[in-house]
Symmetry: C2
Subunit: 403 residues, 2 copies
């Protein structure tokens, strides 16, 4: 088996486990930083080691377009290419093909990326949806779209996704799925789900046996479709399960979906909630039984000046555990971002210095900010694991979320 | 004394020495990386330590404008602000006020920055020179100019430069000087030199006694003016000497200027050639007796895709010891940039990976490229010091320059 999952502790629906693959192992629940193009914004492999990052996720879609998965294969695979000796996960390419691929990062893309409908104007979404239909064609075969960079027509199919991921040589791969948006109605979502299920079987047929294949549960916000999908996937021999697609219109919808899906998935397999990773979610979804998360949020927030702080520094659900480093109050603040954080940044630099770097648009800001935010989340997951193991999870959650 | 200089070995006009200041020490001849705004493009203080960087140069002009030298003083000085415990040099602010300050990085600024006249079209230079006259006013008091960022009128005078550098708390400071361009005629250069000399005396009067003040020899490409300036500075009690301003129209002019100036400077004081740092120059100018260099070139070339390689990898005077990482030949090249280099980058990453990062405009590229180029030059200086100490300098020079 290319993947072994051992559950070491449980607490209600939560579990602390260990995933072993041919390139090392990691403890769950885990936060997986995203290395879209085989790099995480200014962090090198020594940084990742220092931070305790044992697993990263790279994007199949992006690497297929550049530098190309065949080139990466010729160069010895992704581990050698980026010189990372931990576990590498690749996604199926589906999400990007259905959203980012259309060059609409700020339209439907983000919705599908689990930012909720209510945060965007309906009208703009409809426009984006129409635009998207022009740029990508979904057929029963797969999806065909125009690469926004090169103008080249690219087709992704289940078989092709398996080929690309095989070329990349990642340890954990995902079955090719159609990622519906919160705008999709029930009829469309149902048709898309049927495709996703057929594609899952194609992936099972074609995937590289040295890799661990995860099936992806879809079905949008519809209970019967989610349950149908969970049962379908659970019956097949996947190494683990992703939960993807539209997670509804609010955080509560997302938690409901987890309540429907997770009890139907096999206990002994890891569950990966795709694209989610806000601090609050890491507590709430872990409580529902999620084992793996990946999310670009820590790096994206860092880039925009938002740095994570713990409750000891005033972090809470309302401020989303973030300070904005540009705040004038930090102009003459010699304290670290978070005095309870032992990362390279908090051990070495002041808020005043980071504010200066941010305002001056210095490259070092992006490195340090990304370092802190990712470290912060990785260490939080470590504490969450400990709290599940010793039974103090609910106390830790109350300390952070206030309830 | 805030600075001690001990000469340990000599070979013809060359010396290997050790400079001691209140914040640590460094060996000479030395290459000093430039941290314009108190940061070196994505490198943190641990990187600098790993690279063996014991001394950096920060820009008085830039830090005065942002975040402000008074703020840095309040925060405990530059060493604490950027958390660097090595030696910090600051320039006088003069060069930037006379060139960069006018927002003309690609006009006269670069000429004054010792890129030679012949490399740019005369016409564009004249335009830039006229533009510059509109934006900055030089008087006997100092220079008054408009900050291109804020629109604010700023005045730099010798006394003000000493105050700013005192606030920054650097270890080695430079006297405020007027930096003439290669377009300045003899008359203007002579008048500017008189000002520079008067200003040097003002600086000697006002500088912070905890800092080591270097005088700057000016005089453009005119032998009598250079000699006059060298004698003037040598007679005054400076801790060391900078050689600045226009270094003529060719590399040979620069070497001639060093031949005129250096024999007139006191043997027992270090000599800093301002703004110079091409590989070839590091050999040729060291041979003339230069002890200290600072230059943005390694970082700038890195940013543009040019990575340094040694003769073992085909580096030579014609290719300026650089490869361009975008070259198609590196697409499938699993070798490091330079197999004789033991830096973080060459020990961990391939040319193919760096090429991918460069083409994808990934932040990690800028960090790794800057790391390699600065490390390369810092280590080359180490080898040059060793070769002076053991008498093999001319062999090393022949190996690198071919003559």
């Amino acid at each position: 088996m290319p993947l072994k999952f051992r559950i070491k502790h449980t607490l209600d629906r939560m579990r602390v486990g260990k995933v072993k693959t041919r390139h090392g192992s990691f403890e769950t629940p885990v936060f997986i930083p995203v290395a879209t193009l085989a790099a995480i914004r200014g962090l090198d492999n020594r940084d990742l080691k220092d931070m305790g990052v044992e697993v990263i996720l790279a994007n199949t879609y992006h690497l297929h377009l550049r530098p190309g998965d065949e080139l990466i294969k010729e160069l010895g695979g992704l581990h050698k290419f980026m010189n990372f000796d931990g576990v590498i996960v690749t996604d199926s390419g589906g999400f990007q093909a259905f959203s980012l691929g259309f060059g609409m990062e700020h339209g439907v893309g983000k919705i599908a990326n689990n930012i909720f409908l209510e945060e965007l104007r309906e009208e703009r979404l409809r426009e984006a949806e129409n635009e998207r239909k022009k740029l990508a064609v979904v057929t029963d075969r797969g999806v065909r779209f125009k690469d926004p960079k090169s103008g080249r027509i690219v087709e992704l199919t289940p078989k092709k996704s398996m080929e690309i991921q095989s070329n990349l040589g990642s340890d954990i791969i995902f079955a090719f799925d159609e990622c519906t948006s919160p705008l999709s109605d029930r009829d469309y979502t149902e048709k898309a789900l049927e495709r996703t299920h057929r594609w899952a079987e194609e992936c099972l047929q074609h995937y590289d046996r040295r890799q661990a294949l995860f099936g992806v549960v879809q079905g949008g916000e519809y209970r019967d479709l989610r349950e149908k999908s969970a049962r379908f996937m659970a019956e097949r021999d996947f190494a683990g399960y992703g939960i993807g697609g539209s997670l509804g219109k609010s955080k509560q919808d997302m938690l409901n979906i987890l309540d429907w899906v997770i009890p139907l998935l096999p206990e002994e397999k890891p569950r990966h909630l795709l694209g989610i990773g806000a601090i609050e979610d890491l507590f709430n979804c872990t409580e529902k039984g999620v084992d793996m998360y990946d999310c670009v949020a820590p790096a994206r927030w860092a880039r925009r000046g938002h740095l994570y702080v713990s409750p000891a520094e005033g972090g809470n659900v309302r401020n989303k555990f973030r300070i904005h480093i540009k705040n004038a109050a930090f102009r003459i603040d010699n304290r670290p971002v978070d005095r309870t954080c032992d990362c390279l940044v908090c051990q070495n630099y002041s808020r005043a210095y980071l504010r200066h770097l941010y305002k001056a648009n210095e490259l070092l800001y992006f490195r340090l900010a990304t370092y802190h935010n990712i470290y912060f989340v990785v260490k939080l997951m470590e504490r969450i694991r400990e709290s599940i193991a010793d039974g103090s999870f609910y106390e830790l959650k109350r300390e952070w979320l206030g309830f």
